[in-house]
Symmetry: C2
Subunit: 238 residues, 2 copies
Amino acid sequence: MLELAILGLLKEQELHGYELKKRLSDTLGFASGVSFGSLYPALARLEAAGAVKAVEAKAAVTTPIPLTGSLSGELAAFRARKGVVRGSRGKKVYGITDLGDGLFEELLATESQSNEDDRLFNMRLAFARHLPPDARLGMLERRRAHLVERSVQIRARLKAVRDGYALSLIEHDREAAEHDLSWIDRLIASERAGAHASDPQAKPDHPAASTTTSTSNGAGIPSLSGLRPVDTEEDTAP
Amino acid sequence: MLELAILGLLKEQELHGYELKKRLSDTLGFASGVSFGSLYPALARLEAAGAVKAVEAKAAVTTPIPLTGSLSGELAAFRARKGVVRGSRGKKVYGITDLGDGLFEELLATESQSNEDDRLFNMRLAFARHLPPDARLGMLERRRAHLVERSVQIRARLKAVRDGYALSLIEHDREAAEHDLSWIDRLIASERAGAHASDPQAKPDHPAASTTTSTSNGAGIPSLSGLRPVDTEEDTAP
DNA sequence: TTCCGATGTATCGTGTCGATATATCGGAGT
DNA sequence: ACTCCGATATATCGACACGATACATCGGAA
């Protein structure tokens, strides 16, 4: 599951693991940040599959280790000899390959069978701009159907519960599901209204958001005037 | 994590695995139903720890299964000879032991360290009636603090995102967090108002199995009227 | 009677998580 | 100049939840 997110981020720029984690936790909307225990294995899988590859870190490995008698320095040199070539500070910067690009498209477009984990949907939505408009709409409508079904199930549960706390819990779940549903509806409406215009490369035409005054929230629709990343930001200082 | 739920359900009545799963999926408010792949190992762990034990199934198992710590090998051989006698239909009904009862209390009251997974909180809340009122209140307030912190973090993320879909995603997260917060506030208010010893319906020190009625009404936390946030110490400047 | 679907227990591989080990770098303090 | 400390950074470990799957039995429909 992480693969999709990793590839999506590497599509925009080359990154090393630590930075990747920060972006996963910060810029994407995941409930709990991804841990290293899943990130590094996922990167290893992707590298083994040829979807990403380590690129040369800016400062290369050429940093001469001055044998100044510093204990730590010599230790470092010793370790560096039997290790993989990395950047000046052990960074291992990854970039996406053509194969990885294909894998990304495939993962993004995969028809998730009925289960559709919430996290996975969020993931896909976060990268929805890489999808053609019709696929986007299909994804949203599938999600909607899923939420409707969940809503029904929750309502069924409500009758079976007698304990006060459990009841409140389920009631809250119901509200959350309905809230999700109305959110999806707003997204679908927005998609239908201002739909076309985002290829992976294309820039959105105009903000289509304005109509959504329905529920208290003003910013419900993201006004797809996504200011694309200014440019390829500079790499974090190597 | 499942252990808490299993013990909580077995506290009310003896159940076998399949039924246990149904209750976990139906009556509790878990996003995705618990799978057998986690339920059975959890039951096995609990049995190994002496917290639960298999009881006689109704339909008279005349041949007690010699579970002398035999492992899969013996078990497979045993099963192979066609005569595996459990309940009338192979059911294996579990009951909670005194030791398990203690474990339940311990798990329920454990101070979850700052992380406080959402599912775990839901779990605890579902069994909150087994907690003394002050512990309940403490749990809710810890949860509240957690949500406030999350809210802050989400708001921080909002500034860093430029893509339309990702932005909408985070915005939705923010609303969900605020919704959760107001829900917790209502729970706290309700707890402060009428919760202690004189809860309308039941003061469930012991989950007497005979609490048959009382289903009609929400009972436990009925007054979910719109109450304003409680006055807690920390508030975050918008 | 036969077959099918619901019930029921159990295991396997995979992925994620939290904790932890190791190491480097920049800067604060002394 | 020195050391110590916290942020950066990669990596692995054990625990465990999950989906898939295998196997078995029961109740009833064909």
